[in-house]
Symmetry: C2
Subunit: 339 residues, 2 copies
DNA sequence: GCAGCCTGTAAATTCGTATTCACAGTATAC
DNA sequence: GTATACTGTGAATACGAATTTACAGGCTGC
């Protein structure tokens, strides 16, 4: 049988309201009575029921995150794993818990957002958008649901944090040219994903500037898909000398393909990945990678969200850009000796 | 202003109870009235409040999972990422959502379990135990909290699913001996972790049977720690010819160490990892690995838990062992030609 | 024609907590 | 001395939905 504040009140011979006050740390309770209540709580092993509290206070203590299941699960795409990891770390200190959902394949993520926010299952959400949807964003905003977008709001005036993916694409490409590679290609994920598009844009900008030839190959996320497309690319008569690869995992697929193809890295093929994941150490010479600074990304997102949840107004601009940083390692150093 | 069933009732000119019945799909509602209610719901954009429902029905629709933050985050240890991923997949179809928490470093996970279960934040939990604690398990059981243990209950009579880690250790070791390696060592994680201990036990069993020398080196989880210890091990005058490594990530660390040490895999060093993660393809010859079948592990756990949550009695034995399977690849094939 | 039985709906209650309101008791001001 | 302010507490209410209870209206059977 469940122990309630009512029961505690009876045992301690006070009213339920007083029990509630003691629990809330209300100062206006006689120390003597407080002790009595605390003793009763202790003795009867009482625990607050967050469901009842939720109903009364209108807040659940949960924040929501919905992710599109990556190819090969969470293991296949380190971005989400890192994201979740950082969010958990960031939340650990505070009073909030994380409600993690997947978005069914092929379905709109908005259904999940609706499900979580409108039913009041969570107090607020972190949205991770690869293809922002103005109308929906506007609706969430109109309904005054607290949320932060990780990604590009495409003009909607919402709180958002983003990597500068265009810039990230630029520095990766620029670095390869600067290292002496002449013909730089790009192996990207599926079409229509904002992350991909932005990085491609950055890539193309630099190529244009260098008056080179821009070539982009699309494939699914994941090591295996990248390996396959890299095989084809490397077998081309005019195969590129260097490749920017959409993420480290995929870059590892390219490494495998290069090895089978007999190309040495970085002498015969330059490589830069993204995310600066632990995988980068796996290559003997090390893999150059553009670090996304997910920790900071999540840091800003959580700070903004918790401020919103507290009813406050987050400081600074609505949109925050977290700069990417290139980690130079061996895979992109054709001109030896610099490392 | 929030729209409630009360409001809908007023608009549709029925009682709140009727609205509730319509929503619950109760058959005993006149079609005409049902339509009227549904229309009102549609028009006023009503959504059920799960908090209120939770309080009344005593169930939250959440199941909890608490994980000890792995070294290097979720990315550093593919086991948790895979676990979470599978759980999300498994939950996606049903009515349950996942509440994911981390256990603060150095603190007992029981605090989190208490926090989630006793406050009724979640309906049930999946516990992942590396060092089972009889007393706490017994307490959860006494309090009738539905939970499933992934791991070894150490004699407690609770619902549990586990890999047979002893067996897994055996087949990995046996395979290396069978491949022609004479001196097989073991690079394990930290001391006192059940997974490690069990696999070590399996390893030692085979070594004893082969009348070899059992040598186990401990280190932290993660690629880097494994790389370091592997460096030392490989520099030993009587370095082992083959190594069983606690997981694939750590095995990759060993690969890096071996490369710097000038040893070829599998000629100079045989290797078997665990988890059969995508990493295994990253090695040119492929990494042999004992697959944990996390999907099945989670499948059984979820099935058991949902049955418990539904008030039912799960079929079969309380303890389920999911067999491990060795994936043979190049890293353990000293005697060539078999692949 | 009336007791007894469905059927569908409304009214009332409940879940466990936070909070508002009311009130007794004491302290302070004049 | 009464009027006023303040303090700590209990009683009452609200949160939003599910469920139990009660009841009106139509039906059956005799």
């Amino acid at each position: 049988m469940r122990v309630t504040q009512q029961d505690i009140a009876k045992y301690a011979q006070v009213s339920q309201a007083t029990v509630s006050r003691v629990l809330a740390g209300d100062e206006r309770v006689e120390p003597e009575i407080r002790e009595k209540v605390l003793a009763a709580i202790e003795r009867h092993n009482y625990r607050l029921d967050v469901r009842a509290r939720s109903l009364r206070t209108q807040s659940t203590g949960l924040i929501g995150l919905a992710i599109q299941r990556p190819e090969g699960g969470l293991v296949g795409d380190p971005f989400y794993a890192a994201l979740i990891s950082e969010i958990l770390d960031g939340l650990a200190a505070g009073p909030y818990h994380l409600c993690l959902d997947t978005i069914p394949q092929g379905e709109s993520q908005w259904q999940v957002y609706d499900e979580l926010l409108r039913t009041r299952r969570v107090d607020g959400m972190i949205l991770v958008e690869s293809a922002a949807d103005d109308e929906r964003l506007a609706r969430l905003q109109r309904d005054k649901f607290p949320f932060v977008l990780i990604g590009n709001p495409m003009g909607s005036d919402v709180y958002s944090v983003d990597n500068d993916n265009v810039y990230a694409g630029q520095i990766a490409t620029e670095h390869l040219f600067a290292s002496g590679y002449r013909d730089v290609g790009f192996i990207a994920g599926p079409r229509g994903i904002t992350v991909c598009d932005d990085r491609i844009e950055g890539y193309e900008r630099i190529v244009r500037q260098r008056e080179g030839r821009a070539r982009v190959w699309h494939c699914d996320f994941g090591l295996e898909a990248a390996r396959q497309v890299a095989c084809e690319v490397l077998n081309l008569p005019d195969a590129p000398e260097a490749l920017v690869v959409l993420d480290d995992y995929m870059a590892m697929g390219v490494v495998v393909a290069a090895r089978r193809n007999g190309r040495r890295i970085p002498q015969d093929l330059g490589l830069v990945g993204f995310n600066d994941s632990p995988l980068c150490q796996m290559l003997d010479v090390g893999m150059s990678s553009v670090s996304l600074d997910i920790r900071r990304l999540v840091g800003v997102a959580l700070e903004t969200l918790t401020t919103l949840l507290a009813g406050g107004e987050p400081e600074g601009s609505k949109r925050t850009i977290v700069p990417s940083v290139l980690q130079v390692r061996g895979s992109s150093m054709r001109v030896g000796g610099l490392l």
